[in-house]
C-alpha cells in the first residue's frame, strides 16, 4: 500500500521551475527523506502534497485521495510541521493545541485528553499554560510536532524538523520521530539538508537538486552504489594531486573541492601508503589524509558533483535561514 504516489509533479513560479517533473512513491509506514540543498524544491514539493500550493502539472495520490480533487480528504488525513514556525505566540501551548483540535473538529472530551497525552509525549506538559513567546526553539518545534499529531494523521510531513536546533535537541526530536513511526505506524516524510539526520532516520531517501529528483533508494543501497571507501586528502596543491590521482587504475572516482580532494576506491587501507609515496615523489605537500566509509554526503556529492554545503552557497537563501532562525 502506498501512502503517497507522485507522478510528474511540476511547479512553475512565473517561469522559474522549482519542482521539475518529479515522480516517486512512499510506502505506508515508511520514514521517507527528501534531501537537498537550499532551493532544491523540497518545501515546494511538500506544500503541493499538503494542498497549500497548486501544482502546475502532474498528479499525486495522498492516502489514496487525488490531489486537487479531494483536497479536503487529504487535509483531514495529513499532519504537517512547517519549515517556518507557525504557532500563535500570544497563546499558550495548550491553547495552540486546542485551536488546532477545534479546527479539525475533534470533540471536546477527546481533544482535552489527547492534548494532555501529546504534551506529555513531547515533554511539555508542565509548560502547557505558558505563553509560546517564552518557549525556546526546541520547545516550539516539539509543540508543533505534537500539534501536527493531534488529529491522528496517517501521514506526517516534517519540513526541516531540526533546522537550527542544538545537537541534543535534534537527538531528542529524532527519537520522537522514530517512536511515532514505530508505535503508531505513522508514515513520515521529512525534508532535511542534514545528511546524518537522513541516514539515521530514513528507510528511504530521495535526493533532490534544482527541482529534479536524482536518486531514490535506501541509504544503504545509495552508499553501496558509490562503493568501497572514501579517502579525503587536504592539500594546498590539490590541482597537481588531482592530476596525478586521476591516472591511477584503482581509483574509481576523484573529485577536487575547495582545499581538498576526495577519492572513491575499494580497500582504501591498502592504497594509503601508495598515495603518500606518490605525493612525496612529486613534491606535493599533504596536510592530512582520512579514510572512511561513504556517507550520504558522499552520495550527494557523487550525484550532483557538489557537496551539499557548496550547493547552498546562495547568500539569499542563507539570509533566509538566518532570518528564520532569528525568529525562533
Amino acid at each position: 500500500m502506498f501512502a503517497i504516489e507522485v507522478e510528474n509533479l511540476t511547479k512553475n513560479f512565473n517561469g522559474f521551475v522549482a519542482v521539475d517533473n518529479v515522480s516517486f512513491s512512499i510506502e505506508s509506514g515508511e520514514i521517507f527523506g527528501l534531501l537537498g540543498p537550499n532551493g532544491a524544491g523540497k518545501t515546494t514539493t511538500i506544500s503541493m502534497l499538503a494542498t497549500l500550493l497548486r501544482p502546475t502539472s502532474g498528479s499525486a495520490l495522498v492516502n489514496g485521495f487525488e490531489l486537487t480533487k479531494r483536497d479536503d480528504d487529504i487535509r483531514k488525513s495529513i499532519g504537517i510541521v512547517f519549515q517556518d514556525q507557525s504557532l500563535d505566540e500570544e497563546l499558550t501551548a495548550y491553547e495552540n493545541m486546542d485551536f488546532h483540535g477545534r479546527l479539525y473538529r475533534i470533540s471536546k472530551t477527546v481533544r482535552q485528553q489527547k492534548i494532555v497525552e501529546l504534551l506529555k509525549l513531547v515533554e511539555l506538559e508542565e509548560k502547557k499554560n505558558d505563553i509560546v513567546k517564552t518557549f525556546s526553539g526546541g520547545m516550539r518545534r516539539r509543540l508543533e510536532i505534537a500539534r501536527g499529531l493531534l488529529h491522528e494523521p496517517k501521514v506526517l510531513f516534517l519540513d526541516e524538523p531540526t533546522l537550527g536546533l542544538d545537537p541534543q535537541t535534534r537527538n531528542h526530536i529524532w527519537e520522537y520521530i522514530e517512536n511515532l513511526n514505530k508505535e503508531k505506524g505513522i508514515t513520515i516524510i521529512l525534508t532535511t539538508h542534514y545528511m546524518d539526520e537522513a541516514d539515521r532516520l530514513c528507510d528511504r531517501v530521495a535526493i533532490m537538486d534544482k527541482g529534479k529528483l536524482i536518486a531514490s533508494e535506501t541509504p544503504e543501497k545509495l552508499k553501496e552504489e558509490i562503493g568501497g571507501d572514501v579517502i579525503t586528502i587536504t592539500s594546498s596543491e590539490r590541482e597537481e594531486l588531482y592530476a596525478k590521482l586521476k591516472t591511477l587504475s584503482w581509483v574509481k572516482h576523484v573529485e577536487p573541492h575547495d582545499g581538498f580532494v576526495t577519492i572513491n576506491l575499494e580497500n582504501a587501507e591498502r592504497h594509503v601508503a601508495e598515495i603518500a609515496n606518490l605525493s612525496a615523489t612529486n613534491g606535493i605537500e599533504i596536510d592530512s589524509i582520512s579514510i572512511r566509509k561513504p556517507t550520504l554526503e558522499d552520495v550527494f556529492l557523487h550525484f550532483t558533483g557538489r557537496t551539499i554545503r557548496e550547493g547552498e552557497a546562495s547568500s539569499k537563501d542563507h539570509m533566509r535561514m538566518i532570518h528564520r532562525m532569528g525568529r525562533r
Binding site: 517556518d84 507557525s86 504557532l87 500563535d88 473538529r105 500539534r147
Partner: protein
C-alpha cells in the same frame, strides 16, 4: 459555525491578553474627546444638538474608535501571514469562508468593545444617554461599522505582502474616511459640493446612526443610514471573502 467560533475565540483571547494594546488604542480617541470636547464646548454651538459640542462629537469619537480598531484587526492577517500562523489555519480541512467570517466577527467584536469603552468613559464627561432603545440603535451602527471595516482590513491584508503599505492605507484611506464622515462637524453646514462628498463616505451613515441613537437627532435619516451601511457591510464582506480566498501562503 464551530470553526467561525474557533477563529473568533482566538481573536478574543489575543485581544483580552494585550492590555497595553487596549489602553494604547484608546489613547487617540480619548485625546480627541478631551481636547476637542472640552476645548470647543463653550465656543461651538451646533444648531439642533442638545448636549453641546461634547455631546455632538461623542458619536464621532466612538465611530473613530470602532473604525480604527476594526481596520487594524482585519489587517492583523498580515502578521499571521508573516509569522506563519496563517498556514496552520489554511492547511486545516475548513473552508476559507469560515476563517474569513470568524476573523470578521472577531474584529467587529473587539472594535465594538473599544467603542463601548469610549462611550462609557464619555458618560463621565457629561454625556447623557437618553434611552435604552437609543443605545441599542447606536450599538447596531457600531457593529455594522465594525463588521464592514474589519472586512475592509482583511481585503487589504489579502493583497499586501507586509506591513509597509499599512501607513499608506492609514493616511490615504482611513484618515480621509474619518475626516469626511461628519464625526467632528455637522454635515449640514458644509458647502454643497463637500456635503455630497461626505454622503459618499460610508462612515457618515454610521456616525449619524450612532448620533441618532445617543441624542435622538441626526442629519441623515437613520433608517436610510442603516440601509446604506448594511449594504456597504455586505459588499465589504463579499469583497474581503473573495480576496481572502485567493490569498497565497
Amino acid at each position: 459555525m464551530d470553526i467561525v467560533y474557533t477563529i473568533w475565540l482566538r481573536n478574543m483571547k489575543r485581544y483580552l491578553r494585550s492590555k497595553s494594546r487596549i489602553v494604547g488604542s484608546l489613547g487617540m480617541p480619548l485625546f480627541f474627546l478631551l481636547v476637542l470636547g472640552f476645548g470647543l464646548n463653550s465656543v461651538v454651538r451646533i444648531p439642533g444638538a442638545g448636549q453641546g459640542y461634547m455631546g455632538f462629537i461623542v458619536p464621532g469619537i466612538v465611530s473613530m474608535s470602532v473604525l480604527f480598531t476594526s481596520v487594524f484587526s482585519g489587517i492583523q492577517i498580515i502578521w499571521d501571514k508573516q509569522f506563519g500562523f496563517l498556514k496552520e489555519t489554511l492547511v486545516a480541512p475548513v473552508s476559507r469562508l469560515e476563517i474569513m467570517f470568524g476573523q470578521t466577527l472577531g474584529g467587529a467584536t473587539t472594535a465594538f468593545i473599544q467603542g463601548f469603552i469610549i462611550l462609557a468613559l464619555s458618560l463621565f464627561m457629561g454625556l447623557n444617554v437618553t434611552s435604552v432603545p437609543g443605545f441599542l440603535v447606536a450599538s447596531v451602527f457600531m457593529v455594522l461599522i465594525g463588521l464592514s471595516f474589519t472586512a475592509f482590513g482583511i481585503a487589504i491584508a489579502s493583497k499586501m505582502e507586509d506591513m509597509h503599505g499599512f501607513q499608506l492605507i492609514m493616511n490615504f484611506v482611513i484618515f480621509p474616511i474619518f475626516g469626511l464622515s461628519g464625526a467632528l462637524f455637522p454635515i449640514d453646514s458644509l458647502p454643497s459640493w463637500l456635503r455630497s462628498l461626505t454622503l459618499l463616505d460610508p462612515l457618515t451613515y454610521g456616525v449619524e446612526g450612532i448620533r441618532y441613537g445617543l441624542s435622538g437627532t441626526s442629519q441623515v435619516n437613520p433608517f436610510f443610514g442603516f440601509v446604506v451601511l448594511a449594504g456597504f457591510t455586505v459588499f465589504m464582506v463579499v469583497v474581503g471573502a473573495t480576496l481572502f480566498r485567493r490569498i497565497d501562503v
